[in-house]
Symmetry: C2
Subunit: 304 residues, 2 copies
């Protein structure tokens, strides 16, 4: 299977702790890298991924809070210093466009690559990017400021060739790609071998939902139906439910309920409040509702 | 002696390496903390100092390059989250005032402390701050953008009481502070004991010069005459002298010559180019000219 994996660069919340860096993740989908949020320290954390940050094509920003974007200035600068020439596409709420333009004008006058900022409407659930490998959709969230989650959906791959059938019918190499693309095969003596006999179905498509800082949003279950992996913030335990509501966050139980309603395969929780020196209370709470819950941790790589 | 120490938080240059963080230092002068430059990662590095960042009263910024200021957004934000109420004084070139005001307006609407930015003229050698403990002077530097070094001069302390003389003349406790401040002492039988007999001179005053990114500046030797500790950037070895000139930096030999001409007690070099996986070549080169040279390293604390 082609890679589709999530690397956790940081999964703490705004107040720094010795245990966590602020929010940042990188998604590797068939070798294309998407950076999702960009908290301070992203360059340090990146080292453990073994990936090249020059391969980041898109940056997806959820909202204009420092713990999600203060790693951006250094990252944009470093990409320039390392000689990047490929354009970089940054997507996020419109108020972050001002930030990126400020940085570009004041600190990055000499970078050798273009930055294209696409301002998204965080109130719309819409597909804003598509290529051969994926679609990316916005997920409207509810936080203290305009905030946007992201749903990354893999596109179906090609069917797999059944080696033994290819050998049996002595199909030549030049015909393989056409068969993968859907063609049947006609043998030299005129027999038609249907495509379905020569192939097995493509791998099931996978998807990743990044639900950043948010109160529970009922529609997420529908938008993310059957998602392979859902990341959902779980800043607090239910005992701090009032704080969660006051600050526009979710409890671990609320995150789990959203994943359950979405029939997600697995749930990844993060954005832990600094008050938890041990997040097992959050894990326990979520697993009571949605057993297939994981705790995000820095240096973690999750294969979808 | 009252503390006067420099903590190195980062001593690399713009390109990130696994060995160094970008420029940041904290000076502890009699318990008052001055943060000098503020590269990304300053909050991580701070932990090893054992100091409270709420005790930072002043931030001294040398110039508007990212590797000297990209830690500022996170630091200002964290101070707010931790409930800071004391005003923070930031000093630096005027083009960084725009940056601080942008951050204040876009990311820090709710902080409970005031930020006062004092725009300095990096072409003037002048004293811009003074209190009971210290004077702070600008040091005009020559870099690709307006750039300012800082000279922190301790003010003379009080003389020390000679315990045995105080006992001999049976000087009462209430008179001690007045004697320290310069008074003589008259014994009950009318004998005048001169101040000089009751005290020994105060500790010699100490000073710290922070010479950030710069080509060699001849006047530094005069401005920093007899400085206790001089930090001077040494981005390159002499073999890369052309690069140093091209990018407005110094070689280790040039840093050492400046320290020698200033008759500095000790020299601390830093801001190493990422090309050096081992900075001993820089140390060797500097020590050939100025033996009392030290290599800056993260987590280092130097007592003046």
């Amino acid at each position: 299977m082609q890679p589709f994996e999530v690397h956790i660069l940081g999964c703490g919340s705004a107040l720094p702790t010795a245990r966590h860096l602020p929010s940042a993740q990188v998604v590797n989908l068939r070798g294309k890298l998407l950076l999702i949020d960009c908290g301070e320290g992203v360059q340090l954390a990146w080292r453990h991924t073994g990936l090249s940050w020059q391969n980041i094509t898109h940056v997806l920003l959820s909202h204009a809070h420092g713990d999600h974007v203060f790693g951006l200035p250094g990252l944009l600068s470093t990409m320039g210093l390392l000689g990047r020439t490929a354009p970089l596409f940054i997507h996020g709420p419109s108020n972050l466009q001002t930030f990126v333009e400020f940085l570009r004008g004041h600190f990055l006058p000499d970078i050798g690559y273009e930055i294209h900022y696409q301002a998204l409407d965080p109130k719309e659930h819409t597909m804003f990017f598509e290529d051969r490998s994926m679609e990316i959709w916005t997920l409207p969230l509810q936080h203290r400021v305009p905030c946007c989650g992201y749903l990354i959906k893999e596109k179906p791959g090609l069917p797999h060739i059944r080696r033994e059938m290819i050998d049996f019918y002595q199909v030549p190499t030049w015909a393989i790609n056409r068969i993968k693309a859907g063609d049947d095969w006609q043998t030299p003596d005129g027999q038609l071998v249907p495509h379905s006999l020569l192939t097995t179905p493509p791998d099931p498509v996978r998807s990743y939902a990044y639900c950043s800082d948010t109160m529970p949003v009922g529609e997420l279950a529908e938008w993310c139906k059957d998602v392979t992996l859902m990341y959902h913030e779980a800043t607090y335990a239910s005992s701090e439910g009032e704080l969660a509501q006051k600050y526009g966050h979710s409890t671990a139980a609320q995150a789990a309920l959203t994943a359950k309603n979405a029939r997600a395969r697995r749930l990844l929780i993060g954005h832990y409040s600094a008050r938890y020196s041990d997040e097992s209370v959050l894990l326990q709470e979520a697993q009571n509702i949605f057993p297939a819950t994981l705790l995000a941790q820095e240096r973690q790589r999750i294969t979808l």
